[in-house]
Symmetry: C2
Subunit: 391 residues, 2 copies
């Protein structure tokens, strides 16, 4: 739950969603070869696979803006608390797995999650090897995680900022870091609570994951695979969130995957592909890759844009322009219902989104300062690409 605002037990009306037995994009578990964490785009950039310039930029692309730097500092401070000792005996809980699941989700909302889902932990989602760009000398080590269940925690990247920013200006990384750090704070606290109940539990949040998040979000009913490559899209927040995960051996009742028509919608829309400044997003059809059905993404182009951006800090243009990334107002809720439920209305929705000018920066609500630590010494200057007008 996000603060004081009235809520039912969940933040969003998930009871309106159509549940399905399998995710709307195929997952052939037996074909999946578990990747090493080393294969992630950011790890490749950090390790120099994308060249020397990007490797150098990687070290500064988050702290080069003071706000994203400050939030990432806090995120990193919490890293030692991802795991811990559990109680010596199990708590006398109800003999009712559904009630326990509901309780764990309520607890995550109480800790101010924006959306929560539960699934069995798919073994194929765990990295084969761990590799940290924070500690590259340690190299790759086999990853072991024998938990049975996963709790996924989503934190919104802030709709007000999403409306104001251009997609790739100086606040972009701060939005990511805020959701990373906040979801990490919630996941770490929830994992400690479960350990105090006498069950094993570990928190995973960016960039400290033992697992790949997208399949967990699909299985936990938190979204469908979208055109933006490996990005899962939530029916009420769109792609405007980051996710943390708690894995545990506490038995829980899994949520079911959802179908809100996104495969049809993304087939038609293509706005993210059109607007992507690095042309990393395909406007073609889905493919099968390593056992997953998905739209292909050019990870190197995407990573190069985010890490190497000289006119801002990071990039979230796809998040910015996605028609699903809207404020939760009565008007947008009505459109959202229509897009989810009325197939033939989707093409009008997509057309209307452009027509009404959505996805353009709303400069009058810009609240941040464009600042850059050019040399990594903490001295801030106003970058050439700036628009520092704050009302």
């Amino acid at each position: 739950m996000s603060g004081y605002l009235k809520r039912d037990w969940e933040t969003f009306p998930t009871e309106q969603l159509k549940r399905v037995d399998q995710p709307t994009t195929k997952i052939n578990a037996e074909q999946i070869k578990r990747p090493s964490e080393r294969q992630a785009g950011f790890c490749k950039a950090a390790a120099g696979d994308y060249g020397e310039r990007l490797q150098k930029e990687f070290r500064r692309f988050v702290p080069k803006h003071p706000l994203s730097g400050a939030i990432a500092w806090m995120r990193d401070n919490m890293r030692p608390f991802r795991d811990g000792n559990m109680a010596g005996s199990r708590a006398p809980l109800l003999d009712n797995t559904e009630a326990i699941t509901r309780h764990i989700k309520e607890t995550a909302y109480f800790l101010r999650s924006d959306a929560v889902g539960v699934c069995e932990l798919p073994a194929y989602a765990v990295y084969s090897h761990q590799f940290s760009f924070k500690d590259m000398d340690a190299g790759e080590k086999p990853m072991e995680l024998d938990h049975t269940h996963a709790i996924a925690i989503l934190i919104d990247q802030d709709d007000r900022t999403n409306q104001a920013f251009s997609g790739s200006d100086w606040i972009s990384n701060s939005m990511s870091m805020m959701s990373y750090a906040t979801s990490g704070f919630v996941a770490i606290t929830l994992a400690e609570y479960i350990r105090r109940l006498g069950y094993s539990a570990k928190a995973h949040y960016a960039p400290y994951y033992d697992l790949m998040v997208p399949p967990i979000l699909l299985m936990a009913g938190l979204g469908e695979m979208s055109r933006m490559g490996d990005t899962v899209l939530h029916p009420f927040m769109g792609p405007r969130f980051k996710a943390a995960v708690v894995t545990t051996d506490l038995p829980m009742t899994p949520d079911k995957p959802i179908d809100f028509g996104l495969q049809d919608f993304c087939s038609q829309c293509k706005k993210c592909a059109r607007e992507c400044p690095s042309k990393a997003i395909s406007d073609g059809d889905k493919i099968m890759h390593n056992g997953y059905e998905k739209w292909p993404l050019d990870v190197q182009k995407c990573t190069t844009m985010r890490v190497g951006n000289q006119h801002g800090s990071g990039c979230g243009t796809c998040v910015k322009v996605c028609p699903w990334s809207k404020p939760y107002t009565p008007f947008h809720r009505a459109v959202n219902w229509t897009m989810r439920n009325i197939k033939f209305a989707r093409r009008f929705g997509i057309w209307g989104d452009d027509l009404l000018g959505f996805g353009k920066p709303d400069n009058k609500n810009k609240w941040w300062f464009d600042l850059e630590d050019k040399n990594g010494d903490g001295n801030l200057t106003i970058p050439k690409s700036n628009n520092t007008k704050v009302k």
Copy 2:
């Protein structure tokens, strides 16, 4: 700001509030003798001033419930990050203190604060000596804090839980800890951001304060002094929040104190005094104490109830029953407006609050488990005073 829900730049319509030059309760700065932190109720309990039984209970009253224990663990993990080094040079900020103030408040909302206010740091609000019940052997040391300004950050204790709980059952401490830890997380991150701008800044959150919070909340326009002794009441959350503070030498434009009629309201209502299980809250008139005008509170009785409660973990009965502690629904917003603005309606509001049954536990929304670590060894049992029915 608390997540994705639509917001203007602030969460609440503070522009509706009447601003005044001085707080609605007198503060005679020259009469105030700065107290040592050692004089706080919890420190007295920890140090044994309230007897051996309470001293022993103090060690377990938070961790005796696994959720409040887990959140307090996280809160304590963050303690080392309250302060840090600042950038070697000052950022090229706008020569416009108002815009900077607005920006800092926007940043705090972006980090998911529920309410934010700014004031000059009153020297009398700083403790004369620091004393930590986490580190009692260190004794009392003179407190020094030469910052000029304070940013106060409020985090709601969760309205849904507030409606469900009895006021003094097993979730009470968890509500406090959630707001303590969350406000600390925001304050620590904001302070680091300000240090990266080249200004000194330090985060203060429970129980790691260099200062007393109530006068700062009054000066920052976040509430008025209420009948509940040293508790400041926010016009839209009531007393259902905890506060963290960032002190800094960044020049800012202070907010002005507010007057929403609370002195008149609390003079008539007295519901908290009537319902307080320890009879710590006075139903009499305000007094002057150490330069502050306030309703008197029997701190020993209040602390004894919270620390020594054998039928739950902590106590927040006054928070639970206060007529200002309501969900932010259209109905309650209308009543809230009326109570703030129409003096003669207040007695009907107070009468109606009891008549409509507000302040009673709404058991159907109970989501937590009643559990107790009886012996401090991590083994949980179901306490005798329990009501563990979760739908």
